[in-house]
């Protein structure tokens, strides 16, 4: 079992939303995309990915639909909703603030 890189709490939701903001994807695709973009730094295991997706569904930030995958299997595709886009903005700001704050502490302390 691969070890997940430790993420700041709440960041996984933000990352998923960001990935989905570009295009509709299935779960495995999301994991793959996070891995490639972060150049293998972020390896998201299914034990945190799928609960996160359920959380997003519950909050109404994404919706899910069944479709055919690239190799013609049935896969569940996630799409970001309008509420999800709004949330993405909010979380992104929050994240920037947080990173900025951490940065400040690291530079000055």
């Amino acid at each position: 079992m691969e070890k997940d890189s430790e993420l700041l709490p709440g960041t996984l939701d933000l990352l998923i939303l960001k990935v989905l903001a570009r295009e509709t994807m299935h779960g495995y695709g999301i994991a793959l995309r996070l891995k490639t973009i972060s150049e293998d730094v972020l390896q998201v295991g299914e034990s945190s990915l799928y609960p996160a997706l359920q959380r997003l569904l519950l909050n109404g930030w994404v919706k899910a639909e069944w479709g055919a995958s690239e190799n013609n299997r049935r896969a569940r595709y996630y799409t970001i909703t309008a509420a999800g886009r709004k949330q993405l903005g909010v979380e992104r700001e929050e994240f920037q603030r947080m990173v900025g704050a951490i940065q400040k502490v690291l530079e000055t302390a």
Partner: protein, 869 residues
Amino acid sequence: MMKLLRRLQYFLHRRRQEADLAEEMRFHQAMVEQELERSGITAQEASAASRRAMGAITQMREESRGVWIWPWAESVWQDLAYAARNVRRQPGFAFVAIATLACAIGLNTSLATVFNAVALRPWPVRDPARMVKVYSFEKDPPKGFDSLGGFSLAEFRYLAEHAKSVAGLFAMRGEGGVRLEQAKVRGEYVSARYFRVLGAGMEKGRGFLEAEDQVESPEPVVVLDYRTWQNRLGGVSDIVGRRVLVDDVPFTVVGVTSQDFGGTAPERTDLWLPMASIALLSPENSWALDFLRSPKECCVDLAGRLAPGATREQARAELSVLSADFRRQFHDRSDGVVLTGTALLKQGGRKAGQVYAVFGLMFAGVLLVLLLACANVGNLLLARAAARRREVGVRLSLGAGRARIVRQFLTESLAMAGAAGAVGVLVAYALPGPLFRSAVGEVSFGLRPGATVLAYSLGLAVLASVAFGLAPALHATRGGFSDALKRRESAARARIPLRSLLLAVQVAVSVVLLVGAGLLVRGIQHARSMDPGFAVRGIDSVSFDFPVSAYQSTRLRTFYDSLTRGLDGSPEAGPYGLSAVEPLGHTYSLTSFRRPGEDARQDRMVLSNSVSAGYFEVLRIPVLAGRNFQLTDAGRNVVIVNQAFSDRFFGGENPVGKGLISGGPQEIVGMVRNAHTSGLDAVEPALYTPISFGIPPRVIVRHTPANVAALAALAKNLDARVEVRATPLEENLDSWLSESRVGATIAGLLGVLALILASIGISGVFAFAVAQRTQEIGVRIALGARASHVIGVVVGSAARALLAGLAVGLLLALWEGRVIGKYLFGVSPLDLTTYAAVLITLAAAGLAATYLPARRAIRLDPIRALHYE
């Protein structure tokens, strides 16, 4: 909110959701394997690697599910635990609140139980929805009669033979006074199909056969009720085939009904006889033959089962046509028929309207009590909520959402309402049965709250919890938390003082309930002291029970002739009167009449009675004009009218000497003063004819032991089998009052309950006012304010609410007085005594309720008060 909906949706489709997740997992795994294989690992190793990942997958599935269910369930649990903790911390408050609500919900559920049993629940038979009761409809029924009536037996046979839309029409006729062996029981004559169409179960034997219910050849057979068999006939196992004496005629028992069948009448039926057997029980009575054959002789009640596929409307249309066809043969008119369900209370018609009106009033009463209870508990909660503003403020500042805290408050009220509802349902199980039995007697229907009633009380409890819980919850969370932390009063005083509003509602509701109760009680008092216009006290009405089968009209005539001769000749018997209708006996006789020169279509119905001269003397009804009857009047066409008759039909002129037509030309020989002999409302026009012995008359005598003994001795002497029964007229008067008395008792109980609830509420409000203004009062006392001034401050804080509640309550009470006006026996709906008593009672209760809080305020130690926080 949307989140809750999505959660609910997930919960409803959780099977599919989990299947989705599982499939998603398999897809993910397959992709992982594919990826691994592509990177050069063998298929075997790849699948092993993915199997290793299985554990993680199970865990993932648990967690994914948890996102939907767990936090929510946990938070509900938290709320409940929190609510329980709060309740435990203030057991007194919880007790008062739950007891208050339980009373109100219990009353509501009890009333709903009775209403359901009487007005909604159909007969307890197979497929009751297809059963209908059939009534003949009459457009303009004479006064005192219902627009829905029965049919003649001949018409029933015609309808039963021709109707296609009703399968198995059957007829019923209740007979209150049948004697089984020697005991008086309630019997019912039914047509042969009765048990078969109803699908009533038989404990033993069978129902009736068509052959046993033939007018030409009636059979002496009887079906017994289960309890009659058990209680009166010892429950002997070989009962079927035995002979029993019904009105002294031997009848053969053919069946015993099963235990759960109580009959189709409101009272319990003890035995059933075939319709045609009426002829066996009164073989020489010409009425019995008329009843069995004549197309106009009234009446039997009809019911039947709708034929497969037929609707109620189709059946109504068909039966209306058939009824009109039948009556046309006998030059009689039909206004059609009416079909209703088989609930015990006759639906439609004027009587039913009255019963519904009474139920409506009672529902209004108990709902008002519930409103009062809600206002009460709401006020207590509000006071607590204000006290908890700091707690709420802290929680808000720690990041709790407002919705979350409101939900927390509502959970608390729901928990309390739930507890109260449970107690209330217990009340409804225990209360109506015994209450009904003591008021009405043995009834054929069960009085247990069914599913409908339970749903009703559940709904009430939930509504109540929202009603009294929402306002305090919103109130407590209003405004920012810093505001709440700073000062306790600021927000509480902000807008409409909700507490004052609730207080005003409480006062108004208690005024309405108390005035209603007061008026009804006064009405009863008034009726008891009212002059009925004739002598009631110390007068007996004596009737004779004959062995029906042995008597015919000529023999009856001989009996009464000998009896009156005996009475005339015996000095100890004293004066007596004869009357076909028992005074205040709940029976009426009507006759039609017209003035000379009018044609038959102008006939109107008036009350009638056939009496002897002694009737007016013993009852002390004075003859105002003309003369009383004389012995020589027997068989002559002379009548006496009452004042109401002369006022209505002769414009108040002296009617003596005038003629009228009632079954032939009659001459009015006298006019008597109005007397309430047939009811306590306004006296109706009445026509008296000389005694004719057509129906066995009552003998009206003054009640002295010698009188009654002499009468009984005379009767027994004439025929030892005759049973003599003396009824004091006061008992009859009492039974007239009993309906209103039950009403007054219920209204009185509601009123007292309302008073108690309102007192608790008022007391709570003032106690809170004192607690809230402790510092201010302390300062005032320290500065030398007198006790009266301090009390003024405390009471003044709610004075406006009290006055407003009083004003609204009085206005509503005025309206209420008009609604219940007809149950007041002539007491004015504006009765000053009642209003004064209500105001004094309320003032006293209010004073009592403010006493404790006020005392606390006066005795406040200024030093401690100033430190109070």
